[in-house]
């Protein structure tokens, strides 16, 4: 198949970017979207031009590195896949594909389609862990956990931190990401111990990073490659509210960077 690509090109973090149109020909319908990008980049290298920079790592849909906002969808038009798992058969011969980087203030563009997602790491650093000393492996059934909670926790832990929720949200809100990370611990007895400090610290960091607020539109849930449910956001709100009412005061930060 032959395609027209409109790709955001930006030399570095400080330069002004623009869309550049490219033609790619003879793309196999079985190739992945990233392989199509590889074909484009090879042709650019042969011509002596700068190849399009984009994030990628595992190419099997589990690392969360690949991003790209394709024709108005993070990770493209297919449901529940990352860009590396998006196949070219989802497009038609002669299509024009517009490829943009994630757009959010806390995710500054570094080059072309690569954005800096350090803001997510900061949220994790604020509380997305359990403070226990490492040691011997505990007995598997020492702490009984209801199956429902174990499943819900596992579903939340499926989040790969790719940032599609932020990219899809009209407010560039990171609530789905933060709530998945809060939920995976809050649902388990080991995570309950620090639950109230964790939710307050992670929400505070999320706001400090300048992400927007949640309008409960559900775009994040629809675009999430791991199909994380917005019921996690409700759980985070619930955890936050009970922590605020019951736990000692923690200084709050405002969203949107102001």
């Amino acid at each position: 198949m032959n395609l027209t690509l409109k790709i955001w090109r930006q030399k570095n973090a400080t330069s002004k970017g623009r869309f550049v149109t490219y033609q790619v020909n003879d793309i196999s319908t079985s190739s992945s979207f990233l392989e199509m990008m590889d074909v484009l980049n090879e042709s650019l290298v042969i011509k002596g031009e700068d190849p399009v920079a984009f994030d990628h790592d595992c190419r099997e849909g589990i690392c969360g590195a690949c991003s790209m906002y394709i024709n108005g969808h993070p990770h493209g038009p297919d449901k529940a896949v990352t860009t590396c798992q998006l196949h070219m058969r989802k497009f038609k011969d002669g299509d024009t594909i517009v490829i943009e980087p994630w757009r959010a203030r806390p995710f500054p563009v570094l080059k072309d389609l690569i954005v800096d997602r350090t803001a997510f790491d900061k949220i994790i650093q604020a509380g997305g862990y359990i403070s226990v000393n490492t040691g011997g492996i505990p007995d598997a059934n020492a702490i009984p956990i209801p199956k429902v909670n174990a499943d819900l926790s596992m579903d939340a832990a499926a989040c790969i931190g790719c940032g599609a929720c932020v990219a899809a949200c009209k407010n560039a809100s990171a609530m789905l990401f933060a709530s998945a990370k809060v939920s995976q611990f809050a649902l388990l007895p080991q995570g309950r111990i620090e639950a109230s400090e964790r939710v307050q610290a992670m929400v505070a960091e999320m706001d400090k990073q300048g992400f927007g607020n949640c309008t409960n539109t559900g775009a994040c849930e629809a675009e999430c490659p791991k199909e994380i449910s917005i019921s996690n956001i409700a759980r985070m709100n619930r955890e936050f509210l009970s922590a605020k009412v019951c736990a000692p005061k923690v200084k709050e930060q405002s969203g949107g960077g102001i």
């Binding site: 203030r105 009209k170 927007g212 949107g256």
Partner: protein, 221 residues
């Protein structure tokens, strides 16, 4: 002050104020519907007098104004922060599957607020400070609020204005009840689908009920 509250706290404030405003709309609508069921306007006028004189209602009126101001101000602050969170917009955007009206809450809210000011001047301030026609009911002289409403809705431009306004109210309400529950963390795999249905039902019943009043008055008078 509201600026330093966290995103979740602000959403909780929006939700609580919003739910309170919904309860006000239900009371307001129930009283208004009396006009359609009692052509003598007596029950409506008695209810209007109760709302204007009862001391508890008078205190609630101040709470109501507070609720409106809080909902509007926090809503504006949230929206400004949301716009600031994405300084560069996408070339192609808004294709993600999401509830339609949820994307336009600030816009429908702004339309509702603009008409609300006109509405307050039409009825509330007139009843509170202006000259009112009076009527004798059960030996007490009362302001004939019902007559004021009926006179207003004999004019076509007003009927049209209220129709548009109330449609926007319905759009706003479509993403109100269930969204407030979600913000408050009240989510449940069994009852959340019900909350979505209830939210739409509330939007249709409240907006539809209010729309009925000017339309019926205009058609029958």
């Amino acid at each position: 002050m509201a600026l330093t509250y966290s995103s979740v706290t602000k959403k909780i404030i929006m939700a609580l104020a919003g739910l309170f405003l919904i309860s006000f709309l239900i009371v307001h609508l129930s009283i208004n519907l009396l006009l359609l069921f009692d052509s003598s306007r007596e029950s409506f006028n008695v209810a209007a007098r109760f709302m204007a004189t009862n001391p508890v209602i008078q205190v609630m009126q101040i709470v109501l104004f507070g609720g409106f101001i809080l909902h509007i101000l926090v809503g504006i602050i949230l929206q400004i922060q949301n716009w600031m969170a994405r300084p560069t917009r996408y070339k192609i955007e808004g294709y993600s599957q999401s509830s339609f009206f949820s994307k336009f809450m600030i816009h429908t809210g702004a339309v509702i607020l603009a008409f609300l000011v006109i509405h307050l001047f039409n009825f509330f301030f007139k009843a509170k400070f202006g000259e009112m026609p009076e009527v004798m009911i059960d030996g007490t002289l009362m302001e004939d609020m019902g007559l004021l409403v009926i006179e207003k809705f004999k004019e076509f431009p007003y009927v049209l204005m209220y129709l548009v306004w109330l449609l926007f109210l319905g759009f706003h309400l479509d993403h109100a009840f269930h969204s407030a529950l979600q913000s408050l963390g009240l989510n449940h795999s069994k009852y959340t689908p019900l909350a979505f249905g209830l939210s739409r039902a509330l939007a249709i019943l409240i907006a539809g009920g209010f729309i009925l009043i000017p339309v019926v008055i205009y058609v029958t008078q």
